[in-house]
Structures are given as structure tokens and as C-alpha cells.
Symmetry: D2
Subunit: 382 residues, 4 copies
């Protein structure tokens, strides 16, 4: 009996449908912003990595990583809105087998960063950024992109600096104007963030605020949950469940954090949390009519100390491991123990899946999908 | 020229309407749970204070403190629902010039604490607690109380222990049944809490969750914001502004905290934060049609190391100082500087009020209201 | 080829010495306070579990759990100091094959809890608690116990309540008197804690304070690190490494926490962190002359929602899994990659061990030690 | 009777020696890094303020602000070590009536930022930064500067990336070499920081680590406490008291923070905390033989949204207010109430000073020192 046969027999004994799990894993689609592959930095300065992409080769780099992983073809484009830039981006993406799924603009021009973009007390600046959103929507039409992804650096540093409610009204006015220009199949994504770059308050500080805004805008407005945009100690998977239950989840920004919006490699510090997040998605597909294809699972990391290419592979590996383990949870048994208030039993049901080594399963999935079985080796060989 | 004349002249120069401020201060009504005056403790044991009230004299103690402060006549009663208990409580309150404004039950019977009350997987327990709510509503009718105040200790300690969404559905079902029994002038108050006594998740963990529940229930459901029920670093005054703007604020639970739900004396650690909280209320009255009389400003403290009587006076003193300073902010000047993005100017406009010594104003208000000018001395003389 | 053979071959390929790992796992000795098996609670009330031990059967329960796990024979006794109590505890422990390794007294008599024990401004109270420590040392002589374990609930709730430095001086005086009574083979353990039950300051708030105290006392004073006694976001394994490097580590209090001193089951929420903690111990044994037998690895949990017996098994299971995985890290490869600043490579070297399923190894170790291979089944059968 | 007479009479009644307080306030010396006056930013980009200093006029700007405030003549110079740069800086400082008290180098060259400076696994890089320290010490000799101020961006982003103890050893080696080159009247200052720019661990993460390093180096090594370099919820004033008691305090980095190292204007968010910090300094001067002149009280802020000139005035104003209020605390009364465990009384003794309006006192001090009574007006008129 081969080692793989043993593995499959074990899983059968655990009551898991491995074929269903494999099918799910094969459909995994991770959206990725192009800037993931480029140099980035901290407030103390820019950091260069020798394997960073350049403006010239970035689509080729993205394509190479998609070819190895099989799940990185959906691209998040920056907010360049000049028609020639949009056309060129589209052409380069297509030439490399990629597709722009999302437009994610920058609201941090120097003036906007000072005192806000869509919440700036100066109406001319609000107008400028509103028009910028409209142009992004035009770009989306060119790309055939579904998501207008919005994160604002807006907030204040001092008590008294701004009036929370004035700013909220301005924000709604601006967003509403953009919302009204969306095509019916477009989704406006609003991202909340606990702090940074503003430190006293951020205008969209938590999921409650983001939901309140989406409710005012309409059903095409949804929330982005970035794993690192919460206070210390926040139960992120609970918020995720709530967002799905409120029909408000539009996207997940995948990364890891220890303190704030650290934008580190997903699963590198708390793999169990990443597993619990995926478990909520698996539970929602089972019980809540949720479909993972309806949200944009997006990498939002800022690799500084890590080389870009193996760092990206590590991201995918960790996500796949977390997802695979979540798919190995025996949901029927879990529910049964929950209904009996068997606390240790229910907790151990999760651990029983988490402790499995799922790397044999990932290798099988990769082989069946015609992908390199060892993506680290593949990327090292580029 | 007397010292008070100088003080008033200074305020006039600052552009503040002192008569309006005095009128507001005189109307301040702080709801107070009777158990504030009784012994309490920590998980390590009960703590006795020599000036704690007993079951026998608690209404007399409450009345004495109201007589000194002039703002403590609205009483929060526990959830005793036996008709004879309710009748006796009502009679004793009235005999002492007090009024039950709020019923706040306990959902922590031993069985409920284990695995939840309204979110317990066992339907019989959920039913038991639902019926308890209905009886509390009956008690409210006897008292003429406006508020049904609900804080649940419900939550889980371990990943997997419960299904977030199942629990949310059960919770809504139970609350809806109680909600449907409310009289038209009653308000159901839902309190959220970040953690404790459950540590992995609490079912109503944040204001976003509380608002979502209230929206499903109906317009008589409102949110309680306890200052200490948030993650570290949370901007509480921003949430307060949001709750008012969403028409969701029902009550404030006043206290201080450094780490969690420490339930310390309000304003003792971060008086500037208490000032900022009152400033949001003052701003909402000025700009948002809000009326402070529409919410229950309630003390929710757990005095362990502090003597009860002076501790209560310290609470009132700190609240009055914070409110008085908020009333001294020149709102017109603040708005003007905000609209010009004058960050330092706007921030200093708040500080300019906060740095005033408002104790002369409080003494004036007390004297005009026929109250002891020095409440600490008055309580020491009891 | 059997499944186990495959497993062993894989580990051989990873460059791991499985025999050495098994030897380490067999020596694991987890000290356990007797109260782990008894009812406990939160500040909202006591919680009863049907399988809790009683005063009558507690030694039998402890013995039964040791018989199943093979690593729970070292007992932490409470601070009862009456000679007859000490004699009885000793006799009952020995009759059940257990050994008192540690005396851990309570400094929370009501008076002490109010305003401190060894830091109380009233010298008579400090004297009382100092004498209590001396009596505990006498009890240690009877038991043949090595550790005097000290956690103080001392601290203040309000700025101004106490003078930090006065209290520190009093604390050192009291501890020094006890320290001077220690036998040469005894260790005084000082536990630090970030907050609770005091909320403004705790007198021994962090490892820096604990080390400063130990340095003044002498080489027989060491620090207890409880995993849950830190601020949110603290890198606990880094502190652990520092304590070992400063020759200050005396004991670890093993548990899990999400917010504060939650005292949940170790490894239930962040198994990767538990792995990283054990990795520091493994690294210290390899590189720093550290010996795990020189510290007291002690469970410090407070089971409320969990049944005591399976909860204890889950604790042991999680600890063994974490330790086993740490023993599977290829330390040579790790060092080599660290020296090359290969960030992803080094990070993946840890993950490469963590992702292994070590339960086959644990079953092998148990079988070889004559213990039940499935301890959950064994405890269910009691 | 004038308003000031009333004020003085009140303070006399409070038992405060106003002449002593005035003398202390007049001696206040706030060290200031030149870059405070220049443009700065966040990780999202640089922010320009219209009143920022340029390379050309920075000494003139610093001199102008010192002329208005009377307390900003001690300058922190960056780490430029070329002899011609050092000479020019010295000449420009002296020509403007300023004095370089401190040299604060940058350890964030791109290579250093990647993987550490003094903790880098590559010995050549450690050597390079060590030599840089030696050159800074030479520059200190030219300047007649007392302080070598060291903050390292060193740390790791991932578990496994580095070995904590290897890095600590390298760090000590490098620091020791620099320490051994210090002149007898020089102080080496080590700054700790909880996180950022590294997110998994920082090599000098807390005051315990910093003290441990200083102890190994020798008595001329002291600790810098930056108010914003701690975990959420940390009692900063307690650490300050401990550092003084351990004779380890070398400098304070003054600023405000709400989440992390926000570097906001001191006292703008939690003025009571700033007051409590100054109270510890006042207590230490009274009871512990501490002298405020022995430490470097240094502004460490990063003004982005605020204009530089009024922002600096606001900093000084807030510091002076906090210090003045701390000087108004009746320390004898405080001690007496602490010794009686009168919690509310002791807490209110602090509040009794904090609630005083000390701006009349500051105006008196400024007038007597020949400084503009209203520094905001003075700076606006520049």
C-alpha cells in the first residue's frame, strides 16, 4: 500500500469527501495586485529586493507565478485612468494570460493625504477624487473588471481636527455619486481600517461603519475585510461570519499581522487563525448559500524583507494549507458536538483536521492540474 | 471684582453662553444601578467596603446620594420578577424619592453561564431566558420603566465550540419574541462587549453587531455603549458619533477602563476622553437634532478598592467636570477652523476649553440648585 | 511498508533524529496545581462541572490523570501551612504516587486584596504575609518541594492611589526576608502579570520588573513566565529567550489567552505560538546549556466551560504536539538559512516541521512508555 | 484684588510653593531634533507643510522657536559624521545660539533595514555600523555633546527568520566596542521599541531588554523611554518610576500616541497621562535624589498634518501645562492619604491639581523670563 493510499484511507475513516475537497482546491482563485511583485517599503524608507519586478517585466513576472501556482491570474490594477494607460495595461495582461478583475485607486496624493480625500473639508478636493472614481469606473468597463476597490487613507490625527459626522456626510455624497455610475454587474468594495496613516480616527474604521455606508449606498456596495485592519484581540473569523450573514462580504484581503496592518505573509504567524477564517467560508458554503466565487479573495501584502518570488509562493502555500485543512473538518460531527455543548469534543474536532498533514493532498491536486508539484523548486528554477 | 466675576468675564471673552451651560448642567440625570452601592468583587473574591449599602438600607443610601448630588434619582433595578419583589422595590423607591427607569436582568445563572442564555444550543434554556425577559417587561409596566437593558454573558471560549450563525439566529428569535411584547414607549437596550466572561468570542461583540441586531428587531431596539467594552485603542467617541448618526444610541454606560471592562470610576484615568465623549453629545445636540434626555446616561462601575460613598461622588464630579468643559467649547470657532483644515488651531480650541477650571461653575450650579457646594464634605458628614 | 515506516523514513529524510526526540518526549514533566481539577469561575460567578474533583477525591483524580498521561505526577499545592494540613497533603500525595514540587500560596485574603499584601501601606499586613511566606517554606521542607511560587494580586486601581517606589521597597524587604530563609536547593519563583485584579498598575507588571527584583534578592530567585500575562501583541517567545539568556527563567505557566489572563487550554487558539515557545526551549538546550529539567513547566489554567478530565487531556495533547513539532525542526538547516538572511527559507524551515502530523510519533512514545495510546478514550472510560 | 492675586491665594491655600514651581518651570530644557522642523511622512508618502524648514534655514527656524519659548536651545543632530559636515553643523548651531547636546544616527541604510544593522547575520555589516558609531563619538567630541542616542530598526518579520540570542550577542559586541570609546562624561542612550519597522520581533523590544543590555555595557549606558514605544495598555509612568529607581533612565522621548509609535504632539490625546509622567519626575526629585537635569527630555514627534511652527508651540505648551500641574500636587497630603489607603482621597489629590488652570502661572513665568506671554501669537507673527 502506498503512502498516499494510507493517507486517503485515513481521511476516509475521518468521514471526509476528498474528491469534493480536491474540486474546491482546484477552483481556488487568488486575486493579486501587481504591486505585490514590486519594491515597497516602510515609513523609514524603500526596500529593494533583487527579484522584484520592474515596470517593464511585471506582467511577465505575474504570468510566471500564475503558471507555477495555477491560481494567480486575476489581477488587481492600480488606479491609472488615462485611456492609453488602461489600454496598455489591458493588452499586457491579456498577452500574458491574465485578467484585470479589480481596480484599486490611490487616494493619497499629497493634498489628499494631509486632510482627507472624500472627507476633506474642501469641497474642490472631494470633487476631484469623486471624478477620479468615475474615471476608474470607465477603466473598469475597458478591463471588464468587476470590482471597484476603495481604501481611503482619510482620518484625523487630533481630537477636534475634524467633525466626524460632517466627514461622514461628505463621504456618503461622494461615494453615492460613484455608486450611481456603476454598471449592474459591478461591485463597489469599501475597506475599513482601524488606524494608519491617521492615528486619532479613521473615517471607515470598522466593519460596522463600512456596513452602515454600504446600506446607504445600495446592494452593489460590499465590504472588504483585510485580516490586519482590526484592533488587537479582535475575533476576525466572527466578523467574517457576520459579514456573510448580513450579505455584506465582497472581498477578503489576505495577509498576516502581529500588531497592526503589518501586511506580512498570510499564515506565517498564526496559521490556526487562517484555518479558522477558511473554516467560516467552508461553513457558509455548507449552511448559508454562500459561494466563494462571489467574493474576491485578494492578497494584500507588502513584502519588504522577503524576496518577492518565494514570498508569493509561501503565501499561496499557506493559503492552500489553511483551506485544505478547513475542508477536512467533519462538519456533521462538529455540529453534533456543538448541539450537545461538548466543548472539548467540538474544539478537538477542529484540531483533528488541523493536525493532518495536507501537503500530500496539495501535491495530488497540483499534479492533477498539471502544475509543478513543488512550487518552491519551480520558482527557484526561474 | 470678585473671583467669580473674573471667571465669568473670561468665559464671556471666550464666546461662551454660561447661562445655557448652567441650564444643561442642571438637567443632568445620571441613572444608577442599585448594586453600585453594594459589595462586589473580582474573580479572585468578593471585597467588602465598610460603607457599602445592605439589602436593608440600600434605598436610603441611594436617596442620600441623590440628595447631595441632585442627579441620581433614576434607578436601574435588577431583574427580580416575582410580583411581590417588584411591588416592594417600587414602594421603597418611591418612598425615597427615587424612580425605576430601567430593568437590567441577569443572564448568568450557572447553567446560562456555561454555554450561553439566548444563544444556548439547548432550546429549553433559550426558552427559559426568553420567558424571563417577558416577565421583566411586566415588571417594567409596574415600575413605569422605560428601558429593558440587556447584557448577555454569552460567548464561547474555544474555536469550534459554537456556530456563530446558529447562535445569532437563536439570539434574534429570542429577542424578537421579547421585542414584540414591548409597549410602544418602551426601549429594548442591547449592550455589546468585546470580551469577558467568554474569551474566544462574545455573541454581541461590537457596535456593528448590536446595530445589525437592532435593525432586525425594529425601531424600539437601541444600543448601549459601555465605555469599557471595546478593544484597546478604539476611538470610543467616534463610535458614539456614529451611533447617534445611525439613530441607534439608547444608553451610555459610564465608567473608566485601562485594559478591559475594568469598571473603574469615570474620568479617573483619561479625563480628556470623557470630555471628548461629552463633546460628541454636545455637538449632536447642536447639529444633529439629538436630545440628551432621549438616552439613559447610566453609571456602570464596580467599586472594589474605593469606598462606595465618596467613590460615587467622585464619579459625579468627574462627569460634571467633563460635561461642563464640553459645554465651554466654542463650537463656531471649532467649525471655522475645521473648515480651514487648521489642525493645530482646531485641536487647541478643544484644549482651550479643557484647560479651564470649571469647578467654580459647578459650585455656582449647585448653589443655585440648593445642593451642597462641596459634595465630598457632605458625604463625609453623613 | 507500514504507515509508521513511511513516517519514520520521511523524518529521516528531513534530517531529524527521532530517537532523540522520543527520549525528550518521554521525559516531559508537567507540574499541575491540584485546583485545576476543581470547580472554578469568573467574576460573574462560580461554574460547576459534573466531572470536577471534590476535596475528598482530588488526589485520586490527579493520580488517574497521571496514570493515563504519564507526565502529571508533580503537584502544585496551595498555601495551606497548618502542620496537620501539610502532613495530610503529603501523605495523600504519596499514597497516590504523586509528589509536591511546588507551594503556591494565596495573597488574596480580603484585606490583602483591597490594598495589597507585600506592598500594602500598612506594615502589619506586610508582616502578616511575610510570615505566611516563612510558613510556606517550612511546608516546602516537609514536602521536599523545590519551588516557592509567588504571584501577588497587588496593584492599584487609580493614579495616585499608591507610590510605585514605596511599594517596590516594601516588596523587596518582604521578599528578602523570605528569600533569606530558603534552603540552598530551594527556588523562589516570582510571577509577573500585566493587569488584573488591579487595573491601573500591578506591582510586578512585566519581566523587566521581575528580573530587577530577582537580581536584588539573589541567585535562588527566578521568574515565572505565564503565557497570558502580557500585553496584546507581545512576542512571548522572545521574552522567553531573553529570560533564559539572562539565567532568570524558573518556571513557565502554560495556558492560552486571546485577550488577557484568560487561562484557557494551552494551544487551543494559537498552536503555532505554543510551537514557537517550545522551539525556544529546544534551541536553548542545543545552544545555551539550558536544561528543561531545571524549570517547572506548569499548567495554569482555569477550566470553566470545559469538563475537567478531557480538558486536562486536551492540554497534555496540545503541549505534546507542540513539543514534538519543535523537536522535528532541522536546527542546522535553520541556522544555515538564518546566516544567509534567507527569510522565506528560514520561515519555511519552521513550517516544514509544524506541518508534519506528529500524532503517530506520540502514539509510539505512549506505547513504548506503557501508556494508553488514545488518552481521550482512556479518560472517557474512567 | 487682581485675578492673579486670587490665583496665587488659591494655590497658597492648597499648600503649594509657587516660587519653587516657577523656578522649576524656568529651568525646563527640551531637547529637540532638527528634523522636527522639516518635512516628513508616513509609509504612504512624504507630506509637505508650507512652514517646514529647509536645509538652508533650519538653524534659523530652530533659533526663532527657541527665542519664543526659551527652552529649545539643546539640539539633537543627525548622524552625519564627515568632519566638514560636523564642523558646519557646529558653526551654524553656535551662530544661532544653539548647542548640540545629542547625536542620533540612522541605522536604516537600505541594507541595514533589510536584515538589521548591529544584529545583522553578516559580520561585515555589523562592523560597518560599529565604525559608524565610533565616528559619531568623534563628532560628539567636536560638538561637546553628552549623548549618543541609539535607536535601531533591527528586528525580524517572521518566526524563524533570526535567532534571538545570536542577534543579542552580536548586538552586545557592537555596542561594547562603541561604549569602550566613550569619554567619561558621555552617555550612551539605548532606545527600546515594541514594534515597527519589524513586526515579528524587535531586538530591543522593551525596557527590560534595554536595561539588561545597559547592565552588561556599564554605568554610562542608559535607557531612552519613548512614550509611544509600548504595547497598548502599558502603564508608562510605572515603567518610568522603575527606570529611575534602577538608575537606568537617560532620556525621555516626548510625544503622544493612540495606537503605536504615532509620534503625535505630546499631550494632545491624553493630557492626564502626560501629567502623570511629569508627576513621577517631580516625585523622584522629591524622594529619590533624582535631578531632572540629568536626563535629556527630548521631543520625538513626526508632524505630518500639523504645521511645524504652531505644532512645536503646541508641544511646548502641553509639556509646560503638564509639568506645572504636576508641580501643584500637594505631595505631603498625597503621601498621607496613600499611607491611610484612602483611595478616593489620594486619587482626588491628583485631580485637585490637574483641574487647576495653570495658564496664568505659565504667563507669569514667561513674563518674568522675558519671553512672549502668548507664544502662539508670537509664532503667527514670524
Amino acid at each position: 500500500m502506498s503512502q498516499m493510499d494510507y493517507w486517503l484511507k485515513d481521511q476516509q475513516a475521518r468521514g471526509v469527501d476528498i474528491d469534493a475537497a480536491k474540486a474546491k482546491l482546484k477552483k481556488l482563485d487568488i486575486h493579486v495586485p501587481l504591486w505585490l511583485y514590486r519594491d515597497t517599503g516602510t515609513r523609514f524608507g524603500r526596500v529593494h529586493q533583487e527579484d522584484s519586478a520592474t515596470a517593464d517585466n511585471i506582467f511577465e513576472v505575474a504570468a510566471a507565478l500564475h503558471k507555477i501556482t495555477g491560481c494567480l491570474s486575476s489581477i488587481v490594477a492600480g488606479g491609472a485612468v488615462a485611456p492609453e494607460d488602461v489600454a496598455r495595461t489591458k493588452a499586457r495582461a491579456e498577452a500574458n494570460g491574465l485578467k484585470v478583475s479589480t481596480v484599486h485607486g490611490s487616494y493619497t496624493t499629497s493634498e489628499g493625504l494631509y486632510y482627507g480625500s472624500l472627507t476633506n473639508a474642501t469641497s474642490a478636493i472631494r470633487k476631484e477624487f469623486t471624478e477620479y472614481m468615475l474615471k476608474q469606473i470607465e477603466a473598469m468597463r475597458v478591463y471588464g473588471a468587476k470590482y471597484l476597490s476603495i481604501w481611503l487613507p482619510d482620518g484625523t490625527n487630533f481630537p477636534g481636527q475634524g467633525n466626524f459626522i460632517d466627514r461622514k456626510k461628505w463621504l456618503i455624497e461622494c461615494l453615492q455619486e460613484a455608486y450611481d455610475h456603476l454598471d449592474p454587474d459591478m461591485i463597489m468594495l469599501l475597506e475599513y481600517k482601524f488606524f494608519e496613516p491617521a492615528f486619532y480616527h479613521t473615517d471607515i474604521s470598522d466593519w460596522g461603519t463600512a456596513c452602515a455606508l454600504c446600506r446607504r449606498l445600495g446592494p452593489q456596495a460590499k465590504v472588504i475585510m483585510d485580516f490586519g485592519h482590526h484592533a488587537q484581540g479582535t475575533n476576525v473569523e466572527h466578523i467574517l461570519a457576520n459579514l456573510i450573514d448580513e450579505n455584506m462580504l465582497g472581498a477578503l484581503h489576505v495577509n498576516a499581522s502581529k500588531y497592526g496592518d503589518d501586511d506580512l505573509i498570510a499564515g506565517a504567524h498564526q496559521p490556526y487563525r487562517l484555518f479558522l477564517i477558511f473554516l467560516e467560508l467552508v461553513l457558509a458554503e455548507r449552511y448559508s448559500g454562500f459561494d466563494m466565487a462571489d467574493i474576491a479573495l485578494t492578497v494584500d501584502q507588502c513584502l519588504t524583507m522577503e524576496k518577492k518570488m518565494p514570498g508569493t509562493i509561501m503565501t499561496v502555500e499557506n493559503v492552500q494549507i489553511a483551506y485544505a485543512k478547513a475542508l477536512l473538518v467533519n462538519l456533521d460531527k462538529l455540529k453534533e458536538l456543538q448541539m450537545k455543548n461538548d466543548v472539548v469534543g467540538a474544539a478537538m474536532t477542529l484540531k483533528d483536521a488541523f493536525e493532518c498533514d495536507v501537503r500530500p493532498l496539495l501535491r495530488m491536486v497540483r499534479a492533477e492540474s498539471g502544475l509543478p508539484v513543488d512550487p518552491f523548486a519551480a520558482v527557484a528554477g526561474l
